[in-house]
Amino acid sequence: MKIFLITFFSLLMGENAHAFPEMIRHNYPNCIACHEAPAGGGLLTAYGRTITHSVLSTWGGEKEARPFYGAFDNKYTQSWLNIGGDVRALQLYTNSKTTKQAMFIRMQTGVEAAVKYKQFKAVSFFGKQEAGNMVRGESIRHYLMYQPTDEITVRVGRFVPNFGLNIPEHTLATRKGLGFDQGTERDQIEGMWNGERLNVSGSFSKTVKTEQKKKQENAFTAQVNYVVYDTYRLGFNTWFGNEKQKTREIYGVNAVLGFTEKLYYLSEFDLQYGFDNKRGLFHFSKLGYEIVKGFHLLALEEYRKTDLKNEKTLLNAHGLGFQWFPRPHFDFEAIWNKRRVAQQSNDYTDYAYLMMHYYF
């Protein structure tokens, strides 16, 4: 019954959206206008919802973009409460010399709510997707935020650290490869400055102990982004982690380049000195072109070598695809990749997916 209710409410009330740093091409250098989280991703603000129809989607109207399609608009509750959530699934297809596989994966089902009081905000994402299409009634992301000025935010709670580019393709080398995948929320305290040109953040975090993850990494991360010519952003990020006397350090650079309102390019390079003292390189890049409003052609590329001295640790992929926002609340991304995992084979495997995302 509990699971049924969660799923039911998720379908009714879902509200989530990924972060889209490429929105800089529309002069959005920071995430906080459209997302409740200052580092982007997750629950959309009321302003963000209007952007989903006016800037992001092929079709749709202002009212359609609102929570519950505007059916429960109420000025009083809107002033202190924001509810949303999302349902996200993936159809995956792989084809190599030895295997051919198609798989449907439900990735995320949950409800997210933000309660505001003056300069304080409490946010929680409720719903943990588990194997077998089960959803556990548990808050996987939650934080208390204080915003004393337009520029400054302080967050305490459990969330994914702000490191590198927060992109929706969370399985790529710079996200999953470095440990910033979905489900890698950490307990942390974070401070951020969101300026007109400069964006700086720093946080102290600790891995959440689970049955599977017994070791805890304590880490400090810092990120500096600088906006030039309004639609170009360059960033530098560092990570200093410590886990049972072993350390890892990551140094990265990233760029979000909005050449025009239609053409954009994102790229990130991270050099990791891992817990095993091995030096690894992690990289992704994404080139996008919006051919009609809401429909983007994409070229993606990733590279991961966890040990630069060991060829067997290489994973690289390149592919083409599209992302389509037909109407507010809907988001589809389809990518066809050629992927090589050196540990398995030197041959490239066909790897394709269709990601389907419904959010309120």
């Binding site: 906080i32 603000t45 009321a46 302003y47 006016s54 520029e151 007109e196």
Partner: protein
């Protein structure tokens, strides 16, 4: 008699050689504005075709007058344009903005021998939203007869309400740039 002929010719010559005003080419140039939306520091940029402008010369003074049709302003988002024109600029009541710079330090002989004028400070009067407010800015005019002016305005000086939409509030000061091609 000879003196009279020379004098008459000189006077006529002066009259005929009095510099013609510079008239803008409507299809060329543009006017832009830039505002910042807080808290996310969104850059809100608007653009319209060039203002209709005239630079007039007399022996003692050069002046500029430019009129902008506010209905032609666009920010790239239709809904934002509607809010800007209907709620804040009230373009139905106040369809135009007018900038008058009474004195520009440009010699009356400029048309005959155009020489670049760079970053000249100016004092002008901007009429917007039914209010006349003094503005200070920078003016340039190159030898291809392209003028550029930049100045900042405070929205509240013009009785324009500070735009706010769903938690994003526009900063009070807006930067205006205009580029005008003259014939």
């Amino acid at each position: 008699m000879k003196f009279l002929i020379v004098l008459t010719a000189t006077v006529f010559n002066f009259a005929f050689s009095a510099p013609k005003p510079l008239v803008s080419i409507p299809a060329k140039g543009k006017t832009t504005f830039e505002a910042v939306g807080k808290p996310a520091m969104i850059k809100i940029k608007g653009e319209s075709p060039s203002a209709a402008a005239l630079i007039s010369f007399t022996d003692s003074n050069t002046s500029l007058s430019a009129i902008l049709n506010l209905e032609l302003l666009k920010t790239g988002i239709d809904m934002r344009d509607d809010h800007m024109k209907e709620k804040y600029l009230e373009t139905k009541k106040f369809p135009e903005a007018k900038l008058v710079i009474a004195t520009l330090k440009i010699p009356s002989t400029w048309s005959a021998s155009p020489a670049p004028i760079k970053d000249q400070d100016f004092d002008g009067i901007l009429t917007l939203h039914g209010k006349d407010v003094p503005v200070k800015g920078v003016f340039s005019l190159n030898d291809k007869k392209i003028a550029q002016a930049e100045f900042k305005i405070k929205l509240t000086d013009f009785n324009i309400e500070i735009p706010e939409y769903l938690g994003v509030k526009v900063a009070e000061v807006v930067t205006i740039k205009t580029e005008i091609q003259f014939e």
